[in-house]
């Protein structure tokens, strides 16, 4: 009986510690001022994988912020493709992910790769949000309607309708070579993606 009480106390302290002391460190840029909606700590991954490395990447066509429609198939045989799904505009970690990719176009070029950024937000929202990041060199695509169709196809649509924070590396043959469905609360470090891109040369 006493042992049970002791176990319960230790468990309570552990749970209390997580809620009291877990802290959201975003390193958020002042570029977004007070316009970022704080989402708190979310379930790290909330989707069921549908694809695996070695699978053919499902094709899609989505509208981009710049006005043109972009299809994955247009890069077949020409470029490696990195797809960066981020959960939602105007949220903490997402707002500090693509601006980093924006200064490493040379790394993508060296690896003969293009980057496609995708969220489930609509075009006007993406327009306003990405304007805060400066001029992005890569297409930003809206998976808004039918809502999250591409995210669902890629197995990264969460139960609340946003996507996971996920990276897919697809080679010129259209084959998936790397999948990182990341903890939604954290930004993936750049070197992990770069290492995967460099493997495509081998």
């Amino acid at each position: 009986m006493q042992k049970n009480r002791l176990n319960r106390l230790i468990l309570s302290i552990g749970v209390l510690s997580i809620f009291t002391f877990s802290s959201m460190a975003y390193g958020l840029s002042d570029a977004f001022k007070e316009n970022i909606y704080k989402v708190g700590t979310l379930k790290p991954i909330d989707s069921v994988p549908k694809l695996k490395v070695g699978d053919r990447a499902p094709n899609f066509t989505l509208p981009s912020v710049s006005g043109e429609n972009i299809s994955l198939s247009q890069y077949r045989g020409k470029k490696n493709v990195v797809i960066s799904f981020v959960p939602a505009a105007w949220t903490p970690v997402c707002s500090d992910q693509w601006p980093g990719y924006n200064i490493v176009k040379d790394i993508f070029d060296q690896n003969d790769a293009v980057l496609l950024g995708i969220t489930v937000d609509n075009i006007p929202t993406l327009f306003a949000w990405t304007n805060q990041m400066g001029k992005l060199w890569f297409p930003v695509l809206s998976d808004f309607w039918p809502h999250g169709k591409v995210a669902k196809k890629y197995g990264v649509l969460r139960s609340n309708g946003v996507s996971e924070r996920a990276l897919f590396v697809i080679d010129k043959k259209g084959v998936i070579r790397y999948i990182d469905v990341h903890d939604i609360n954290q930004r993936p470090h750049l070197e992990d993606l770069v290492n995967e891109l460099e493997k495509l040369k081998k």
């Binding site: 390193g27 002042d30 570029a31 500090d96 992910q97 750049l190 070197e191």
Partner: protein, 192 residues
């Protein structure tokens, strides 16, 4: 009896863990008149950077150990658009200081990359040709100790001869350019 000892041990460990956490994590940014939180940085391997900071040997150092009267700290991120935009202007601040024989021995400048790995800090350094030492803070440890400030965040610290120190200015963003910022540093630190 054994159970009581275990219980006391658990509670003591919890107490010290809380104490440690509170010592490391701050709920507000460092402000004028305060001391810096405890920040341990690796002594640069690069001889030029080591020499710039007046450090020797290996291991870790604390900011007040930098051989200077004033240290300017920029908390930045490779992923932050304003940090990217301000980078050339902050470089200019470094060169303005280094080109002045009076200031170059008294004022030093460092950057700390909040949430940035060594690789990411190097990308930032290379992209913007940053001439002063940058340090990674991959797991946000320093960022948390500094109240999880937004970036870029500037802190100006006076280092006293007896080894004590004091923050004389801090600001979130709003970098005004090299000359006005240097003027602000000189006035707030008492160098002018």
């Amino acid at each position: 009896m054994r159970k009581i000892v275990v219980l006391l041990a658990v509670m003591t460990l919890f107490f010290f863990w809380v104490l440690g956490y509170l010592a490391l994590a701050a709920n507000k940014p460092p402000e004028k008149g305060e001391m810096l939180p405890v920040i341990n940085l690796p002594i640069p391997k690069n001889p030029g950077e080591k020499n710039y900071l007046g450090l020797s040997g290996d291991g870790l150092f604390k900011i007040p150990q930098i051989k200077a009267k004033v240290v300017i700290i920029e908390i930045f991120s490779m992923y932050c658009p304003f940090c990217q935009k301000d980078a050339p202007g902050v470089n200019e601040l470094y060169y303005t200081i280094e080109n002045n024989p009076d200031f170059k021995t008294k004022i030093k400048l460092i950057g700390i990359g909040a949430g940035n790995s060594s690789y990411e800090v190097e990308v930032f350094k290379k992209t913007y040709k940053v001439p002063f030492p940058l340090f990674p803070d991959k797991d946000f440890v320093i960022h948390k100790a500094c109240g999880e400030v937004r970036t870029p965040y500037f802190i100006v610290v006076n280092i006293n001869e007896d080894g004590t120190h004091q923050i004389v200015h801090s600001q979130l963003g709003g970098y005004p350019g090299a000359e006005p910022f240097l003027e602000l540093v000189l006035k707030s630190s008492g160098l002018k």
